[in-house]
Symmetry: C2
Subunit: 232 residues, 2 copies
DNA sequence: TTACGTTCGTTATAGCCTGTAACCAAAGAA
DNA sequence: TTCTTTGGTTACAGGCTATAACGAACGTAA
């Protein structure tokens, strides 16, 4: 068995060819997603663009959903890599800067590839249910957020919210179901708030709810982030 | 011309019949949307459920998008009515209570009819562009939010954010493009923040991003709302 | 009452899609 | 050189949108 070194080199030609066509299919699929969203994906039209007939693609993907799943997987991977690359390590910058880098990375990633963002976090494609393991992938950016926020002192809003009510236990259950290092629930709460605020503004912006208003959503995001950093 | 009193009574039978079938089509359409989202809408299958053949429905709607547009219109109308009904008038309750009523109304509405919420505020159905006037409808709940928040003293976060930078003018331009009574930009900003936080949590919840965590998004919403009411 | 236009349904058809079945050619391995 | 696996083909079933051509029934008006 070849060591699976670099993807499509140093491999028996058959396997090499297969990888190349798989790549070509997925590239064209991303194009379609970029143009019309996940529901616009069509195996037939991809095949046509490749100079093949429709059924040929069923040698590579069991069905449309399988291709979609692969795209979702790649999407999560790409997002995680983008975030990892953009956020400086724990020792390289102060936590506030790291947080701003995180937010900025997610913002620009979604702005540059809106349909990709919507594919991962938007309305589910009808009839399609993402497999379990994609959720795991989805957690990678959140883990970065945990890591960054753990360095900041918890704000009064979080400490108060966690002191009473059901949230404390829910958050605790979540973080240690995730394994890894223990994390105070205040930090987890702040991460959720950060994520939700960011997602809210991103998705409203992507759908175009801001265009008619003349308000720059990124400015609003700045306000929200400042408030969060101030501990509220 | 009949006075268009109650929709389908006191009308020539032909028109009456037409209204009834229109209603039946839209009801079945809502059923389909409830089951599979906007993209699952199929004129053909609606016709079948009505005991008709596909092309018959083209006497009632020019095409699939026309039906979808009608649903979007009805959706916005229904949401606006739900909000209007749930939020007490300016004299009937203190502003904080009114705001909580607003948030609760939107939350429950989206929870009860998730696909309807996603149809209005989620990813656009591929190939479909909502007509201009639906955006106007979309503003009605926001107007209520304006009305409620205008009664509350502006918080430090908003006053600071509006004192410098481009946000002040953007918000001002927005509110008086909307006409109606003049509104300080701080209030508009708080409305946007409230809306975005709410939308973020709602859409994450609807897509199921919270299910795996065990965290109750409504609790997080409470935290976010408290912070906003505290002026942050 | 009869004649006529409008409305609402039908069937037929074109063109897209997903997905399966049956078949065939070429590539690699034994 | 044979024989299996792989990757393509065509044919087909069934779904969808949408248009065209046609017919029946409704309601009106002579």
């Amino acid at each position: 068995m070849p060591e699976a070194a670099s993807p499509s080199s140093r491999r028996p030609p058959r396997a090499r060819y297969r990888e190349l066509t798989l790549r070509e299919i997925k590239d064209l699929a991303w194009e379609q997603v970029a143009e019309g969203g996940g529901a616009a994906l069509s195996l037939n039209s991809i095949a046509r663009r490749m100079g093949l007939t429709g059924p040929a693609l069923y040698r590579y993907f069991a069905n449309r959903d399988a291709l979609l799943t692969e795209l979702v997987r790649e999407g999560y991977r790409g997002l995680a890599e983008a975030v990892d690359a953009a956020v400086p390590g724990a020792g390289e910058a102060d936590p506030e800067l790291r947080l701003r880098a995180f937010v900025h990375a997610l913002w620009t990633w979604s702005a540059e590839m809106p349909h990709r963002y919507l594919l991962l976090f938007g309305a589910p494609v009808p009839g399609y249910a993402a497999p379990e393991d994609t959720f795991e992938q989805a957690f990678r950016p959140m883990a970065v957020l945990f890591d960054v926020l753990a360095e900041l002192p918890p704000g009064p809003a979080e400490t108060r919210a966690v002191s009473g009510g059901p949230l404390r236990d829910q958050l605790a259950g979540w973080v240690d179901a995730r394994g890894g290092e223990p994390l105070p629930p205040e930090v987890a709460l702040r991460a959720v708030r950060c994520w939700a605020r960011l997602h809210g503004l991103i998705s409203l912006a992507l759908v175009g709810q801001f265009t008619a208003t003349g308000v720059d959503p990124e400015e609003v995001l700045r306000v929200e982030l400042d408030a969060l950093l101030a501990g509220h």
